[in-house]
Amino acid sequence: MSESLNFHYDVDGENFVSAGQASVELKKMLRRLGLPPDTIRRLSIAMYEGEINMVIHAGGGAADVEVYEDKVVIRLVDHGPGIADVELAMQEGYSTATDSVRSLGFGAGMGLPNMKRYTDEMSIDSVVGEGTTITMTVYINQ
């Protein structure tokens, strides 16, 4: 079975108030599909961190979620500035967020590490000046 249910979410780059909307929608949808609570939690947090990153750094973007029988794949696409040094960006505590973002509780340099922590596979495809695509996979019942 390679058929999947596909869902698309647009992430508004302008405000932190609506940031998280896509993650909350995703969480509700995964609940309706009856996925295990821990799987839902991991996917929702990974999605939220991705969403926040797109709002903070890229002026928004889009998320596509594919739900298969044995796994869920999230693809986050933005046309922001790109990540110059992916290895550095993956280090816990490294952040380029502004002070105003930090005052909201973000910018701890844990976003990308959390996305990796909560997913089984994660790949970052980024070109400076063009944008970033992040693909994350979580296997169900593993």
Binding site: G20, D38, Y48, M110, N114
Partner: protein, 108 residues
């Protein structure tokens, strides 16, 4: 212990309590949201002074059983509605995060 029992036992204020029967098991203290998402576990009480809209989102996504706002912090009215809509419990107290953790440590 349930969220309602926690609230009653320690006399915490109720900001929103849409799910009073959720079980509280352990806790986490922190204000940096990604740190909380990376470290807090489902069903814990999350003690924080961060009280913007993202607090409610992070509580919902992390599956903590309740937020406990320390130092007399509270949510504005619109956020209270958001918390209720998202089934996020939010309690409050005038005590510091340090005092609250010391108080709740043996109980949950």
């Amino acid at each position: 212990m349930t969220v309602r029992e926690l609230q009653e036992t320690f006399g915490f204020g109720v900001v929103a309590m849409p799910q009073p029967d959720r079980t509280v098991s352990g806790g986490y203290v922190g204000d940096l949201l990604s740190w909380v998402m990376g470290r807090a576990q489902a069903d814990q009480v999350w003690i924080t002074i961060m009280s913007n809209v993202n607090t409610v989102a992070v509580a919902s996504l992390s599956d903590v059983s309740t937020v406990l706002l320390a130092e007399g912090v509270t949510l504005d009215e619109e956020l209270v509605r958001t918390a209720e809509e998202k089934s996020v419990n939010v309690l409050c107290s005038d005590l510091s995060a340090f005092r609250l953790a010391a108080l709740l440590g043996p109980a949950v």
